[in-house]
Amino acid sequence: MSKFKMITDGLVKNNPTFVLLLGMCPTLATTTSAVNGLSMGLATLFVLVLSNMAISLIAPVVPDKVHIPVYIVVIATFVTLLQFLMQAFTPAMYETLGLFIPLIVVNCIVLGRAEAFANKHGVLESAFDGIGVGLGFTCSLTVLGLVREILGSGSAFGFNFIGGNDGMLAFVMAPGAFLCLGYLMVLFNKFVKKN
């Protein structure tokens, strides 16, 4: 499988949000704006690539019965690392995403890729798989955030184009997240995944 195909697979065929429906909790909770969605996606991408690489390296020596705890420790390490880095260099973003950064540890996408892919493949392949799936997650979250931001607060990437803040509030809140996700999923499966 070519590297390029691995990345497009993560974006389309194995898109974590619209096709696999994994990691719904951060997807619904953090996509109140495009920027928030994008940052959450990038944070997950960071953890996914590093944990995929680390796990593909150690997988051959990990005994079967303890492989889940070992993977979780590895993933948690990278998440904590990310937390330190975000707190130090992007404190505002850290505050916005708050609780959802530590929750990446239990994000099923990360453990899912470790189980389904990284422990059977080499470092480089696992890295590309991480990038592909991570980018798929990032793009989905950004699009979802963008749609909700446009409908909910009349702005895009923080740029307000209707003047004032008279958007349709429901879209910023939880019900709007479900509605947008549902419709985007329909559109995605109809137009993108087909080809």
Partner: protein
């Protein structure tokens, strides 16, 4: 592919992984501690600068949760941290009070209000600007619905009440301070 499990290799692998990971994290903690502290200090300094007139020095009283800002020998004012319960959870404010007992300005430190409703307490110009120069001896410190002089955020009376209560608490702290 997978290694057959026995007690020795399970303990060994899990133990080594944990040891290695804690080592990495310990290192990362030491390396990022300075920038994290700096970012936090910068944030509070910015918040204080927002709620008080120009000052040169600031000292923190951890027990009373307030900052004393001075310029040379003269007292510029107190920046008082207060936390009340809003609609979605704790609402933390920093309230700047000048020595004459007038609120100079207020700023939200953290909140968990509903986006688009209560969360407007950080963006709504009309709501935020009314705190600038709020004099509790002239105006009544409660929302209009409760017979006071504070304009609530539309559809967010609970948040506005919590905000008002936080300012009230800050003014109480100020009174205790100025009586000392």
């Amino acid at each position: 592919m997978a290694v057959k499990s026995n007690l020795t290799n399970m303990v060994l692998v899990l133990g080594l992984t944990c040891l290695l990971c804690s080592g990495v994290l310990g290192g990362a903690y030491v390396l990022t501690k300075e920038p994290i502290d700096k970012a936090a200090a910068e944030k509070t300094n910015k918040a204080i600068a927002q709620v008080l007139p120009h000052f040169t020095e600031v000292s923190y009283n951890a027990e009373g949760k307030y900052y004393v800002a001075t310029e040379g020998e003269t007292l510029v004012g107190y920046a008082i941290e207060t936390t009340t319960v809003g609609f979605g959870g704790p609402l933390s404010l920093i309230v700047g009070v000048t020595p004459d007992g007038v609120v100079y300005n207020t700023s939200v430190l953290s909140h968990s209000e509903t986006p688009g409703l209560g969360a407007k307490c950080t963006t709504d110009e009309k709501f935020m600007s009314q705190w600038k120069g709020f004099d509790p001896s002239i105006k009544k410190l409660s929302v209009k619905k409760d017979g006071g002089d504070v304009d609530a955020i539309t559809a967010s009376t609970i948040t506005s009440r919590a905000y008002t209560l936080a300012v009230e608490n800050a003014l109480k702290t100020f009174k205790e301070l100025s009586n000392e």
